[in-house]
């Protein structure tokens, strides 16, 4: 069975977001809120980059 390698991004994103948030906040609710924001930010940023690459690929 082959697994789409993109799935391996999920635990990485979650861990990076939570650890980064943990170094910016102290109280756990604030850490979790900040972690979710960071996660969304990373996903949106990577999505924008992916769209740009797709557009560039379509025109080359």
């Amino acid at each position: 069975m082959t697994v789409n390698y993109m799935w391996y991004l999920v635990p990485l994103l979650i861990a990076v977001s939570l650890v980064y948030a943990g170094t910016r906040q102290e109280a756990m609710p604030a850490v979790l809120r900040h972690g979710v924001k960071t996660l969304v930010w990373i996903v949106v940023f990577m999505g924008i980059i992916a769209v740009i690459l797709q557009v560039l690929d379509a025109f080359t």
Binding site: Y5, P11, L12, V16, G22, Q25, A27, H34
Partner: protein, 215 residues
């Protein structure tokens, strides 16, 4: 929080040692920051546990060790040995720069140093090649060559390397957090508070009271 504001807050808290005020207004002591930083390097979360910040200790331990252990699992198998993506090798032809990141997790990456020392002394690696550097050259044998590791593990060799290296890099952030506390994001209210504290009219009395021997 700025360094000046932090030191003033600390002074206002009555010289309780290094620490900071968290979002909920509670004083969080950093105890001995150097010991905390060393413990944080030794095992992710241990420095925070020493400081009494148990929730963050568990969070950091689970996230970082989860990444590290999963990366070790991906980068190995029963036949080749586990954790083959974590190894210390700085030989010509095999400069393993990933290890400089992986050593950030401290003790869990240390077996690689033992294995590297044994290989340097022409002794066979221990523990079924766990964290052992691959054989140089092209002749197959035990331990397997880097080419065979990459061939057998496919992309999982790179994925495992990435997971373990990122775990080590994340722990460097955690070490800084154990040493100096969190780097709170700037908020408008906090900026105003810091500006008020940094203005000469408010700083002068605070400094005067802090100066030893000041009347």
């Amino acid at each position: 929080m700025g360094e000046r504001a932090r030191s003033l807050t600390q002074a206002a808290a009555g010289r309780r040692g290094p620490g900071f005020v968290d979002e909920e207004g509670r004083w969080v002591s950093l105890k001995d920051p150097w010991i905390a930083a060393f413990l944080a390097w030794l095992l992710p979360g241990l420095g925070h546990w020493y400081q009494g910040r148990q929730a963050k200790a568990i969070l950091f331990f689970v996230c970082i060790m989860g990444l590290f252990i999963y990366g070790c699992y991906l980068g190995g198998n029963r036949e080749l040995g586990y954790a083959r993506v974590v190894y210390a090798s700085f030989r010509p032809g095999d400069m393993r720069l990933y290890y400089l990141c992986q050593i950030g997790v401290g003790l869990p990456a240390m077996p690689a140093l033992i294995q590297a020392a044994r290989v340097r002394q022409n002794k066979p690696p221990l523990w079924n090649n766990f964290m052992a550097p691959p054989r140089l050259g092209t002749d197959d044998g035990n331990p397997p060559t880097l080419s065979r590791l990459c061939y057998e593990l496919h992309a999982y060799f790179d994925l495992g390397s990435l997971y373990t290296a990122i775990a080590g890099l994340l722990n460097i952030l955690v070490i800084f957090d154990a040493f100096g506390g969190p780097l709170f994001p700037e908020s408008p209210a906090r900026k105003e508070q810091e500006a008020a504290q940094d203005s000469p009219s408010s700083v002068a009395p605070a400094e005067a009271s802090e100066t030893p021997g000041a009347k």
